[in-house]
């Protein structure tokens, strides 16, 4: 079956711009996670959704980052006033309740 889909696969934009990254989870998965992977590092947790609500957003680095999941399926990670330090691979994962997470291929974001 279809796995977790993330679009775009690559995004290049200028400093100060606004970006949206999309995640389509596996159908039926109620839990959705966003992680950020900087170059040479392991992924770091950003936010967790259970259904439509953000149950834990403690990993969001600052208020320029925001994520939504309005219908409990697709999620969008939004970054305002991008900075060069935001450059990273953004990974999305989904799962059933406490089952292992399935990851998408990520969006590679480059801020010039």
């Amino acid at each position: 079956g279809a796995g977790v889909s993330q679009t775009p696969s690559n995004k290049v934009t200028e400093k100060g711009k606004y970006v949206e990254l999309r995640c389509d989870p596996i159908s039926g998965h109620t839990a959705l996670y966003w992680y950020r992977q900087s170059l040479g590092q392991g992924p770091e947790f950003l936010i967790y959704f259970q259904g439509t609500g953000a149950a834990d957003d403690s990993g969001l680095p600052n208020d320029r980052f925001f994520a939504v999941r309005p219908e409990g399926s697709v999620s969008t990670l939004k970054i305002q006033r991008t900075e060069r330090g935001d450059s990273a691979v953004y990974l999305c994962a989904s799962s059933l309740s406490n089952q292992p997470q399935h990851f998408g291929d990520g969006t590679r974001l480059s801020i010039l």
Partner: protein, 115 residues
């Protein structure tokens, strides 16, 4: 606080020789531990998981890991490396927070396999 430490940032082996990727964990609870693999420009794939059942866990592609509480270790092994095993490997701890899967990743070990 829960954490994982991967002891080697790079490991290089010859094809057909054994693989050992080392991981130590720190946890206040009985841990749930995982190994994930990441091939270039690809997402993370689950290799195996330990959730307090058998201490020797078998995963996909011939990998296995042994949970040793006395050593707080969860090392990943494979008897014979294949060229296709070249990738980044992450040891991962599941944080017990509100009953859901908040994953804490190690820094990763890059495995190179030479002919």
């Amino acid at each position: 606080a829960q954490s994982v430490t991967q002891l080697d940032s790079h490991v290089s082996v010859s094809e057909g020789t054994p693989v050992l990727l080392r991981c130590n964990y720190s946890s206040s609870y009985s841990p749930s531990l995982f190994w994930y693999v990441q091939h270039p420009n690809k997402g993370l794939q689950l290799l195996l998981k330990y959730t307090s059942a058998a201490t020797l866990v078998k995963g996909i592609n011939g990998f296995e890991a042994e949970f040793k509480k006395s050593e707080t270790s969860f090392h990943l092994t494979k008897p014979s490396a294949h060229m296709s095993d070249a990738a980044e490997y992450f040891c991962v701890h599941r944080a017990h927070s509100g009953g859901y899967n908040k994953l804490i990743f190690g820094a990763g070990t890059r495995l190179a396999v030479h002919p």
